[in-house]
Subunit: 501 residues, 2 copies
């Protein structure tokens, strides 16, 4: 009986997931291969799929099945797969039923058009052309937030979608603490004088960059039988199903860091998704549990692993063999310092580990103001510039490297940016726990052996999908909640060494 | 009032079309880029989309709107856009409501699995592994046919989906006539002795083949802003929307004919779709009217244009410049004869224009027998071989070049093969009509100017989409119905010259 109910629930969830699968493929195709004029009908098709997925997921029959299963599974422990499925589905269901399908469809349609316009507006440095659509989109996201009355800040419901349990207030207070710990380090690094990253700024042909990146992520354990890598303006990871988890990257022939670390970053996201228990596929358990935890994995594989001295002691000679002219004159230590240069910069995705969080805080604060209406869209470029001047001491030459640089607001991604900073903090907390369990991980990395780390992450984090919230996962895995200590210690140790602070 | 009803109808049709758009993207991705292990969930997602599309299209509200619109538009001429929309939608609606959505979903799911298995079974020469799934699929298509009781032959409903108005009986009688006209020509060519096609069988690097093909189809008028070309096992054209009509091709580095003529063939299909009135998009009018008419366009651009002497008098020096070593020793006339070699062969898609229809007839006859049950799946490979022996005097070394060569039966495409032969016949009928209207077309082709032909085809055929049936279109455009005369005359003229018959 309970089995029948569970199967009925799963079949309904699968149908919704199939529509999500399709919407994700359409979105991936829009970013990779779609011909230029295909956008309008594509946008409409994606809106239809998103609306239907929402309708399927919020069907009262789903609520009914959840009611019955909550009774039937009452005695099971919280970790039980079926109990977890019902608990997590209930949480998402109760949230989803508050949002009308028509709003979901409208957001999807406006977002596709805005994204398409952004791909043209960014190279043209034309923020003004996006303003009406961005205003419309903000209005729709305010409507979305207002489906959840009782919030403290209008961003809270959106933040909660990405990082369950967090709020504007809790993040503001965490960020204040983080900034207090971070600013002295940034200042000390600035005082210590520059590290030379010119080795990265040479001509690196794209094809060779790509081959090298692919080799590394294969070593990481990214399974190309269940994924692939393509090129997009803005790199991303996307899950169609447990057997089709794709990543994208981009290359800059004049800067090695862009493509290489984008590849490692997205592969980190993909390792998480590829490690989820296969039987969770097609249900709310079958995906990463929060933006923060997701970013902890992309940042861990990109930075803690991919910018470590051990990693490059293994791979640098291989990279030199591919680019002998560019790199034979550069020693391992010089290269290691180059990929760990820290200095204020304009572009978030190219930012170093130390200053990265400052970029995130700027976006987070501006987004809160946009949503609450205290900052008008037309004043956004100036507000952006003013924050970059005060926080990073820099002025972007134009909006391309300013407010137009990130896809998020133009792709309907709100309530999301904090996740990058939370991810940084968690990555250090998780990595510390991994080292406590298996102290030989750094030595293994220096041998190009990643199975030890990946297996630990899979057992402790990946396999669980969304079974545990970020907070539950942190407590289970590290014994404590989210905090800045581990990350500050990691940064102090690493950059203290590089900059001899 | 009528406008409101029309808009309501269109919005319902668009929703169904959006699901079709998504299903087509998923199918295209499955054939182009999907990682190997992605098939099972992809199959399920496609089945869900096909089922939902069917549900949306067969919603009683659609029938209701059609009822009202038939009354409201009663007085309009048959050519009126709105009247045509209602008439053609009614025809498809009445057909679709007879088929349960569950059967549509089941066919989609079995078909995806069978297609996936075929992509592995063909290189492994393992027909046996496909037998259970093929039997299952035949059974489902028999169920489909049985949704339309009263047919003369069980294939008739399936044929009618592809080539409205045709039947097993009418095609058999047409094929008998065609065979009678064709066999003497095949015999005369065989008696005349071979033409040397060895120039095509040299090493032609893929990249250069591709560039050359792309240049030609751009000249044809294929709009890459509304389409793109990728590579697949089996080339095809697919329409996602009026602004996204893609083609695929494949290359054989040791045989120039494969990639080049596949490209021209699929571009012909795409020119048809790209030429349809934009306002028909997302409705049953927005697509080619029948398999036969569609194939008439692919075959016209592939053969009547792409294998003509005039065409090569314009493009051959360009091809020589790309492949000087391979082609400088070969004269234009030698090359023209090489691409028009006629001799019995094993592979349909590589067959010459003369013998091509014999391949089609074999498949048509075998498929009828499979569906009626007079030929068992396990006996199919032998029946295939026996027909190739009797009709073409050839024996395939194994099933790879025999019963496994074509994707159709493994991709759920039944009632379709006759369309290739009907298309050949129609291509000559349409081309004759074009020449009567514009006798300078051959001279224009010899200058690489295709606008004259394309414009005539667009005005007379493409723009109408599915507004007219194949038979109506033939009568409008050529003044007569489907027949073999024009094609036999074309073949006699062309091959009479080449083989000096």
């Amino acid at each position: 009986m309970t089995e029948n109910l569970l199967n009925e629930l799963k079949n309904r969830l699968y149908e919704a997931a199939d529509l999500g699968h399709a919407a994700s493929v359409l979105n991936w195709d829009m970013s990779t291969y779609m011909p230029p004029k295909g956008a309008p009908q594509r946008g409409r098709a994606m809106a239809t799929l998103n609306k239907l997925q929402h309708e399927k997921f919020t069907d009262p029959a789903v609520g009914n099945l959840l009611d019955q299963l909550e009774t039937a599974l009452g005695g099971r422990p919280a970790e039980d797969d079926a109990a977890s499925l019902v608990r997590v589905t209930r949480r998402e269901y109760d949230r989803a039923v508050k949002v009308p399908a028509s709003l979901v469809g409208e957001i999807s349609e406006v977002t596709s058009a805005l994204y398409d316009a952004w791909t043209r507006a960014r190279p043209a440095n034309d923020f003004a052309s996006l303003m009406p659509m961005l205003e419309k989109e903000l209005d729709l996201f305010r409507q979305m937030a207002n489906c959840f009355p009782g919030y403290q800040h209008i961003s809270d419901p959106l933040i909660n979608f990405s990082d369950y349990g967090m709020s504007a207030e809790s993040i503001r207070s965490l960020f204040a603490e983080l900034r207090a710990g971070l600013v002295p380090i940034v200042k000390a690094i600035a005082a210590a004088g520059g590290v030379d990253d010119s080795p990265l700024h040479q001509l690196y042909p794209e094809q060779e960059q790509e081959s090298f990146g692919v080799e590394i992520i294969k070593d990481y354990g990214y399974d190309f039988e269940r994924g692939r890598q393509d090129r997009t303006h803005h790199p991303f990871m996307t899950r169609f199903s447990g057997n089709d988890i794709r990543i994208t990257t981009r290359f800059n022939e004049n800067y090695l860091g862009d493509g290489l670390f984008s590849t490692l970053h997205e592969a980190g996201h993909a390792l998480y998704e590829q490690g989820i228990t296969p039987s969770f596929d097609g249900t709310p358990l079958g995906g990463g549990t929060s933006t923060g935890v997701h970013e902890s994995q992309s940042r861990l594989w990109e930075n803690i692993v991919g910018r470590s001295h051990g990693f490059w002691s293994r791979y640098y000679s291989q990279l030199q063999a591919i680019f002998p002219e560019q790199l034979n004159p550069v020693s391992l230590d010089e290269f290691y310092r180059a990929v760990n240069t820290s200095k204020p910069s304009l572009i978030r995705v190219d930012a170093d580990e130390v200053t990265y969080n400052l970029h995130v805080m700027i976006r987070f604060d501006l987004e809160l103001k946009l949503l609450e209406g205290s900052l008008a869209v037309k004043d956004l470029p100036e507000a952006w510039q003013s924050r970059y001047a005060s926080d990073l001491g820099l002025t972007a030459p134009d909006d391309r490297d300013g407010v137009l640089q990130d896809v998020h607001w133009y792709a309907g991604i709100f309530g999301y940016f904090q996740g990058y900073a939370l991810g940084n903090l968690m990555s250090a907390q998780f990595y510390d726990a991994a080292l406590r369990a298996n102290p030989s991980i750094p030595d293994e990395i220096a041998q190009g052996e990643f199975a030890g780390l990946r297996t630990w992450l899979t057992e402790n984090i990946y396999q669980h999908g969304s079974k545990f919230t970020a907070d539950e996962l942190l407590h289970r895995v590290t014994g404590e909640g989210l905090g800045i200590k581990a990350w500050i210690k990691y940064i102090q140790g690493k950059y203290g060494g590089i900059y001899k602070l």
